[in-house]
């Protein structure tokens, strides 16, 4: 690579923005699944558009919070005390919005279940990202080995 690559401001912004939107969609669909199950158990096959709008906007806002202020903790290397506190913070915000938006018809037990569910969602997201990175690590090392073997075959490594 002969040129030093410089990202434009737009490219930097888009890189972060796309990541945040992907994260927002991921958590939105998890929340929507829980909400849908709640609605079905109450005998309703309909969902409130207002509630869904609140969910996606909250997920989007918390996505920004996670990426810009909370070190993108769900993609972190370890789940230590700091990451656990971040999980509790974000879950708390989701639960607060759920209470204010009356997503679960004032059912306190559903609030508690929702809180626990969101903690589980964050832990699962962390594990999924970790597994993805572990698989990527394996692929990288296989490609590295093939590359180095290729160098040895053409004599560019240890010489003739």
């Amino acid at each position: 690579m002969k040129e030093i690559k410089k990202w434009t401001l737009l490219e930097r912004y888009l890189y972060k923005e796309i990541g945040i939107e992907f994260k927002a969609c991921l958590y939105f669909f998890c929340i929507l699944f829980f909400y849908s199950m709640f609605r079905i158990t109450r005998g309703s096959w309909e969902a409130s558009i207002i509630h869904m709008a609140e969910m996606i906007l909250t997920a989007y806002g918390i996505g920004y919070l996670q990426v810009l202020a909370l070190n993108n903790f769900d993609e972190g290397e370890q789940l230590r005390l700091r990451e656990v506190l971040y999980i509790l913070l974000c879950t708390g915000i989701y639960t607060l919005v759920a209470v204010l938006g009356d997503w679960f018809a004032g059912n306190m037990w559903m609030m508690v279940a929702f809180f626990c569910y969101m903690v589980l969602v964050y832990v699962c997201a962390f594990l999924v990202y970790k597994v993805k990175r572990d698989l990527d690590t394996r692929v990288l090392n296989e490609e590295l080995k093939a590359f180095q073997e290729g160098l040895e075959r053409t004599g560019q490594d240890n010489g003739y």
């Binding site: 690579m1 002969k2 030093i4 690559k5 990202w7 890189y15 993108n72 993609e75 972190g76 290397e77 990202y129 990175r133 572990d134 990527d136 690590t137 990288l140 090392n141 490609e143 590295l144 093939a146 590359f147 180095q148 290729g150 160098l151 075959r153 053409t154 004599g155 560019q156 490594d157 240890n158 010489g159 003739y160």
Partner: protein, 146 residues
Amino acid sequence: MKYTINHICSGEDELILNYIEENEDVARVLAFMRREGRKLLGYKDKEQVVISPEDILYIETVDNRTYVYTEAEVYKVNYTLLQLEELLGEKRFFRCSKSMIMNISKVVSLKSLSSNRIDAVMQGGEHIMISRTYASDFRRRLRGEL
């Protein structure tokens, strides 16, 4: 392949390779000859030292000074990274950041990190972080696409 070795009493040491077609053996000799022509001149404790590219772990610029790291030593060189990229020019040398060139043949293992970064562990134990800006080109280099 025919081998001819002449021991001469005067004149300069010279290596000549005559080939019609570049097969595997010829390619190996060519690679050796090209590499031997690309030695770097470095400095350590005010002494001049000749550095072989195959000994280099990585090269780094700090405060506008360029340093070559081998497993045992660190040498200062009077080249810029751009000049070194041209001089070394081999697939195993990869510009992994604004201020660093790494020798891929000296990488012991790689680890995928968050935000598309890669952690490269070198012989000698050093960790080199390949940022996301350079990580995709690094992957393409490993696959032979670059």
